[in-house]
Symmetry: D2
Subunit: 295 residues, 4 copies
């Protein structure tokens, strides 16, 4: 199938909440989307891990999905994460997102039970059959509990027509090597592990899925442009400049650190939902110092 | 706080669905509960992993919870699993279950994001503060993604009054040794790993949380009684007799294997919800042979 | 082949060194062997991990092996660990030990390189073909780097006539279950993980390979006797009494803790060889307190 | 201390044996060294993993060490691996190698027992104090069983003057990032994981320790030169060309695959020592095909 060309810096949005945590703050969401697009990112991805998609009610999920897609308004592609615990629920979300105008949907095989390869394949096939837009397969055993081998991933791509892209978040660069080797370079893969950004591009990743451009878009985009310009030395220098922040947001948790950072830069997005804590004072001071150095 | 005395074989219920998977079959649920109680189990636990609690809508969860508690009708204690992804949702479920008459609620720190120890403690404290019945803390990193150390578990027990029992499902017997040693034998712990049943009782577990009594209650109860009678040789012999089935249901997945086994014994409970598959023909034949040997 | 009946408490000896560490102190070795036999252990095992076998020169290894066997003098069986990095060296040690009168040799597939299953099988076959006494196969991935599956172990037992016993030190009780199930209870297995002593006996282990009887033989033997007497409650009570010491020697390292403990009880055996440190003052105080409680 | 400048492709030598495996074949060793130097590698490393150093007697080790150093004859630097199981033996080897003219010695904290950080530090200090040439610290938990954290590594570098370089073989690129960040780029690090060659250079590694130049020196050197020329696209292209061979020699084991490959190119170096097998026919055919494609 013909895919939109997804490449470069794919910016993940947070989901802002009202001060009491009870309500989604759509106005703040809109401003965060505008900021990302104005900074120059190549695509927008709502409702991922950063967006606390797993912590929303179905009604909230629909609200955020519809609003985000209409706010982006095709300025750049929108990639909506539609993962859910049952196949029926994931299909419903995928159809909803497509109906609202999503360009791509992203699917992590989230499950309570450990799934067999046949169950994972059937899950992707059911979602693929129910929509017409491309699917980015997402492998992230740390959050899903399911680690898909490269063999399985390539089998899914072969059997389900509209699964055409792979987001790899194991942090193991050898998975990207295998994707490249075993597909003869035909499968576009995207990196979802922030501290692997330099090496993933070195290995041929087409893009970097990251929440960091909410805080340091110019450094993220600069790294990508240095790679496009075949300037390894500059890419390395830019990567090491931003690495302390990338390590910090990984260690502190994406919703907590990105929301704290947005607040420091004038965009109030509320706190993460419990049981996730907002950053404590020590961490806020560290983040503030890091941002002051980088901006 | 004064706890009901929870001990022995704690039987987990499945959640039966209608043939098309769309509806909970309460009548079949009622019959499965009666079977368990008639066989002699010491407690009933609805909505655990076996009960596909994670795959139900909130309305379905409430329906199954209320029906199960009223069906048990205090013949034996009911322990309702109330885990949910946010603290607010878990609190709501705990209150609902208490309101319907649950004797104990069970809480797994389910989360999408990896939680810090402080976040886990606050999660238990929020639930504990909202209800008056005892809580069984449940540690199962394979499904929750969060492994609570024995130190953390004991800290939670100390800080939250109504967390009074521990269900351990890591499969690592040393955790039970540490619970016993570090609490001077004061914390009742329960085993949630089927193939560890013999050794958990040897190490002093007060009970065994298991879905197996849906299929082989007399063997499960016999093992417990041999331990109570201080007859290690008989306990060992009964354990090795049932081990092939315990290994089978662990490997095949609890909802799929228990539902298939119930169907073989005349209780139609439907299939698991997708993405989980029902047992295939080969596995059904194996299960049928195993059951024929054991019953 | 007909095997000597190996069962019960199999006591591991340390290798005492002179004060400057340069020389083996055979006199102290002899006294430690007499102590173990006088306390009632069912077998003696020199040159295991506890005996710093890996840290001896070939000449020292031969000296300790010959002396130990002649000192035991058939009062009880002697099991000599003959593992070495190449097959040729392990064969030489096995022949030497047999020539000196060893009743059994123990073989861990020690290797620098990760070995394939075929390489491991050939290693055991070469040793088995070169001697006439039985071999106890030893699985301990933590020290050898090689984890033999139960399938592989049973294949080795089938192909190499004189491999007739298995020492399991993974600490995973399920391995013992599998050995029992897949061999229909025909393969005698021995536990090499101290904090698993109670559960291994519960699961049917024939013996416990341990350095602990250098310090607390009556507790070790008492546990075994309680199991023989089918008294689970007494076995559990004795196990929890000795568990703090078992945990301590595992955590502190066997040569360092056993040598420190022997010194406290009047048997000077020198220090471990560097890079392994002797116990520091804090640990010696802990050990002294533990021993005072238990003896 | 002033170090020789170690950089680029550091070629590991095999240790050739006579046809019966009993004797080191020094003539073949000399030819393999000349081949490596003639191909253009920047340094030579005898007696590493590839050189089966762990499988040699002390006399053989001395023979190979002395011969290799004298054969290189200062044409390029020689880095001798002197790891041994006790501190005393490692010190002896380090002194011997220095006496024969080694430019650098490499030390892996090989141990049977798991070492504490203090024990590892003392081990390096004892070796460092006994010699005057620089030490390359080598971290490879897969073979040594000991994983040194970046914090520990930097502490060793601070406390032991002549530990000045780090060879990292965990395969985890984040270790290199940490070495770079925490040392402000002051610690030269070298990559020891073949399939990480591209990314290690991208992350700033000074060199690549590898046995591959025995077979495909021009591709290894070409990758390094592309990195020096800041040509990421060419480096990536050259890396993916050689990756199938790098994966093959990692999977097949270095001594077996390199010796088989040398034989195919006219240099008879015998077989690895048992328990390690030579390549079987299927693997030899694969290797032959791979080499035909690449040379």
């Amino acid at each position: 199938m013909s895919s939109p060309t997804i490449h470069g810096i794919i910016g993940y949005t947070i989901t802002p909440f009202s001060a009491d945590g009870a309500r989604v703050d759509l106005d703040a969401l809109g401003r965060s989307i505008d900021r990302l697009i104005d900074s120059g990112v190549q695509a927008i991805a709502p409702l991922g891990s950063t967006g606390e998609g797993a912590y929303l009610s179905d009604a909230e999920w629909d609200e955020v999905s519809a609003y985000s897609i209409s706010k982006v308004a095709k300025r750049i592609p929108t990639i909506v994460s539609v993962s859910d615990l049952t196949t029926a629920k994931a299909v419903r979300r995928a159809r909803f997102a497509e109906g609202q105008g999503a360009d791509v949907v992203m699917v992590l095989p989230a499950s309570y039970w450990k799934l067999s390869e046949a169950e994972i394949l059937a899950h992707y096939a059911a979602i693929g059959d129910s929509i017409g837009v491309p699917i980015m397969l997402y492998n992230n055993p740390a959050t899903s509990g399911t680690d898909m081998s490269v063999d399985l991933i390539l089998r899914i791509l072969k059997h389900v027509d509209n699964v055409t892209m792979v987001k790899e978040s194991t942090g193991d660069i050898q998975r990207m090597h295998q994707l490249q080797r075993l597909s003869d370079g035909q499968v576009p893969f995207y990196n979802g592990c922030n501290p692997l950004a330099l090496e993933a591009f070195a290995a041929g990743a087409k893009g970097w899925c990251t929440a960091a451009p909410n805080l340091i878009p110019q450094l993220n985009l600069g790294l990508y442009q240095a790679v496009l310009a075949n300037d390894l030395n500059k890419a390395r220098e830019l990567f090491y400049r931003q690495l302390p922040l990338l390590d910090f947001i990984l260690k502190g948790g994406l919703p907590a650190t990105i929301k704290a950072g947005l607040r420091m830069t004038g965009l109030e997005a509320g706190d993460p939902r419990l049981p996730v804590f907002p950053l404590d004072q020590t961490a806020r001071t560290q983040l503030s110092t890091l941002l002051a150095t980088l901006r």
